[in-house]
Symmetry: C3
């Protein structure tokens, strides 16, 4: 892409109001204005194009990007590390095993102790309903206060790397993928997307992906169908968010218990397993009570419940019912592929294989989305900052 095109994108950015993102966190996409969401997409694309032009996007000569993963992660971990490195920050992981967090430190204290030279903190805490988002807010309040009290020279801003409510770095990457696949955010208006539950032999997958998707895509004027078996409801607050968004954007938010209905004439399908909200709430309480037998029993119960819906699979037959049989298949990966990673799963092998390339491209936006969230929280005039990078033209790889 030519530098002229990059300059055009920077000009476009300068016309959007993203100033409230400065010195602020990124928790939930529905905390952000449409301009702020668009700014994030634009900055991500600009950073990607600068890197493709071999132009350095280092903002920091030194500084730490703290990471705290309370659940396993490959792609999000590497995406966060890539984003920090792209901007010049060094990742320092808070491993709660190695650290003394378990030894009676309050969140407030730990948050400050690790942040003396931290410019950003990325947290993944998606396991327990009602916990992850609350924990991130606690950390944010702690370092905000620490900065006000003169303990921290800078205020580290937070990036939500997946909580119990939303997975903004995922949903934003997914949306940016759609924007580029459909040739612009305008072209998403009226497109039908099926965010459906799908069968998986595994248990207790977070709800934050489907919730993030219906919470974000409804504001792009899309027709979002959420389909799942009875009992697999997502958080009611998030459904309300989707409803309101759809109304405002001229889109739609439809619910059903039929995968077929959702897939019918869909432009995009996102079949994915998740655990029922009510069950996750129950599990959270059982953990709270330390009732391990109760947890085991619940797991068996849920696996049995899942097994009743093995027909919720993304098959060739279902794909054939989508718009011209050519709906774009999406997934946050890793997917449970029937006959490959499990006997019966979320998607037929032939469907998955056909969409491997777009799936990988979908994932490739995450490092840039995270970097954009960081940049917008650090730079008061992001357009000027990016224009300066472009003009300076320092080479990333200087052979």
């Amino acid at each position: 892409m030519s530098k002229i095109r990059i300059e055009e994108m920077i000009k476009e950015l300068s016309r959007l109001a993203s100033d409230k993102m400065y010195n602020d966190d990124f928790f939930l996409t529905w905390d952000k204005s449409d301009d702020e969401i668009k700014s994030t997409f634009l900055v991500a694309d600009i950073l990607r194009n600068l890197r493709e032009e071999n132009i350095s996007t280092r903002l920091f000569d030194s500084g730490l990007g703290i990471s705290l993963f309370r659940d396993n992660s490959t792609r999000t971990r590497f995406s966060y590390a890539s984003a920090c490195n792209l901007l010049g920050l060094e990742v320092q992981d808070l491993d709660e095993g190695k650290s003394q967090v378990a030894h009676g430190e309050t969140v407030r204290e730990t948050a400050n102790m690790i942040s003396f030279m931290a410019d950003v903190i990325g947290i993944r805490d998606d396991m327990y309903i009602g916990k992850g988002h609350t924990y991130m807010q606690e950390v944010s309040d702690s370092v905000k206060q620490g900065h006000l009290d003169g303990v921290l020279e800078q205020r580290p801003t937070l990036v939500n790397l997946q909580c119990d409510i939303d997975h903004p770095t995922q949903s934003m990457s997914d949306a940016l993928h759609l924007i580029n696949e459909f040739g612009g955010i305008e072209n998403l208006k009226g497109k039908k997307v099926a965010m459906t539950w799908a069968y998986s032999p595994s248990y207790g997958k977070p709800l934050s992906v489907p919730q993030g998707i219906v919470g974000l895509l409804t504001r792009l004027g899309m027709e979002v169908h959420l389909a799942h078996p009875e009992g697999y409801e997502i958080m009611p607050e998030v459904e309300e968010v989707a409803r309101v968004n759809a109304e405002r954007s001229g889109g739609k938010f439809v619910k059903s218990n039929s995968m077929a209905e959702a897939f019918k004439d869909a432009d995009i399908v996102y079949p994915k397993s998740w655990a029922p909200f009510a069950a996750m709430e129950k599990r959270t309480n059982l953990y709270g009570e330390g009732d391990h037998d109760g947890i085991k029993a619940l797991e068996q119960e849920l696996l049995a419940q899942n097994a009743k819906y093995k027909d919720w699979e993304c098959t060739e037959e279902l794909m054939a019912t989508t718009k011209e049989g050519k709906a774009l298949y999406m997934h946050c990966l890793p997917a449970d592929i029937s006959g490959v990673s499990c006997k019966e799963g979320e998607v037929a092998a032939s469907v998955f294989d056909r969409y491997r390339d777009p799936l990988y491209k979908e994932a490739s936006y995450k490092p840039y989305i995270i970097a954009a969230m960081i940049l917008l929280s650090k730079c008061q005039n992001p357009a000027d900052t990016l224009q300066k990078m472009l003009e300076k033209g320092k080479r990333r790889f200087d052979d």
Copy 2:
């Protein structure tokens, strides 16, 4: 702070004799001259002010800072990572689990194998009396020899991140906190500090903090009261160090078995739990013999012994007896807070809460103290180096 003030501090630094720190390790504060201690405080303050002025303090374009933690750590780990990053070094952690250290490598060999591109090595080894400091010396001797033999291009200098004898990065941070709280090192003369034992339900906390404090503050002309129940003696060699220091500096070193006596009219109080030296020595031997039943028995014995001294708590009543009831409360954190992190502990919740800000500020000096120790061991003319950084004025964050 204005750049003029920074230049004054640099001038002040240039008048101190710190040349022996060049290419040397930092093991114990009492290995260092008064000028060297003052230089470390000054460099730490200068680095902090440069960073606050958004001026890059990168000394290294590439290079590794090795870390080896033989005990859990959050704040020291992050402080070391922050210090290395601030100077341009990348931290590489020697995880003895992952590595082959356990597989029959001698310390000498490992030390050299990890140091080919290491500029500094930070070690925490505080668990066993008579072991930590010795181990650090072994590592230092190994890499010194490796450098002389032409195996290592540079000599990595060591920073003691806590050993069995001293915790210099802690005591120096604590002292710098005092210097800034009391408006200058001169104002510490004659001030009374109570370094007292306090009850904790936990067991076997290192002695290096109280030892570091009495070993350092006695040379600043302070009146240092060390108070603990009978049987909680610290290492006699360190008491001797404190005695000699106090004499030389015109300070005082007083011992007692009364927390009340120590707190009476104190300007500063530092109530903290530690294990009895004799018991730690015994434990070290039991570990040597692999006598795990013996260790368990000893732990029970010590917990029972601790329990006899639950009245050694920093209460509001005790605080009221300090100078104008306003003594500065200090702790290396995390503290055992009564009714918060434990039923009965080192300090009353209301006291701890009142001092949270100063406690966090106290901790905030550690990254700069560590960076100062590294800089002084690497730069032959630290004042010139810092002046050059100031004049160059490269931005740390360049938006």
Copy 3:
């Protein structure tokens, strides 16, 4: 070393044909032409000399060097970290424990998911015959395809940090050590090297070191004697490689079951324990079948078999039979030293002690060899790149 000497080496490099290394992996030394092997030695020496002249060799302003260790490692892990840091890459370790690799991700998918900003991937996978090299090829093919498909902006090149067949970063470091000890690659012609098995109480050491040595040194015109007890054969394909190499280079490849024969008049000796190829193959199959009792039984069997050859030790007596009793003793470290790291082992303590310095120097080449492999895979005109670094003369440590 003067900059004039560095310029000469760069000129020498410019006369060698290394263009096929550009954008390619480094799996096996026998995949590479003589010019390519020589280029790697030269670039390693040039990088070392630039660093000794305090000249920065940063190629990258940002970028990741991925590491994946499927076996414990200290020196290779630190060598890789040092090499990446020297060139400006930040290491990001793929810890298969923390990651979701175990959760049904295909190699292809994971390889792409971690590589969006990866410039190089280093892998150690040496445990199972027929697995390591194959796995590395899978990873390489995956990211090559990902790059072609537009998923990855750059193609991350692979560096083999030890597989089941070869250990090129080790054998190349060993060879560079020899080149510098004997004053030039030409002086190695006709020199006799004894690559012999040696007794170790431990079990199942990889074959990749002896295989790498016979596969590489035979092409330098050396007389390579491979000696081991019956039943400790290495992979036949690698023996064939050695035979062909020796013929082409005017060297020799001799096999025997006598340590004495191999040591007789040797210029260089490399006594080291390894497991029999056949047994490793058997173990791989047992692991495949999950037959843990079978594995235990095999281990006992092999330890018993080893014990029959305790006389395969590098003693003073044997050393006395080498060329003028002064053969250069080599080892990849850590060695099993009789009476030090074990009761009876590979080498007598007095022999090992006498050669400690050269052994450490031998190890010191590895970071530069790895950096050279990376640089040659990234720079189309390595000589120009290095000349530019020399002329620019940016300081690595800028005090």
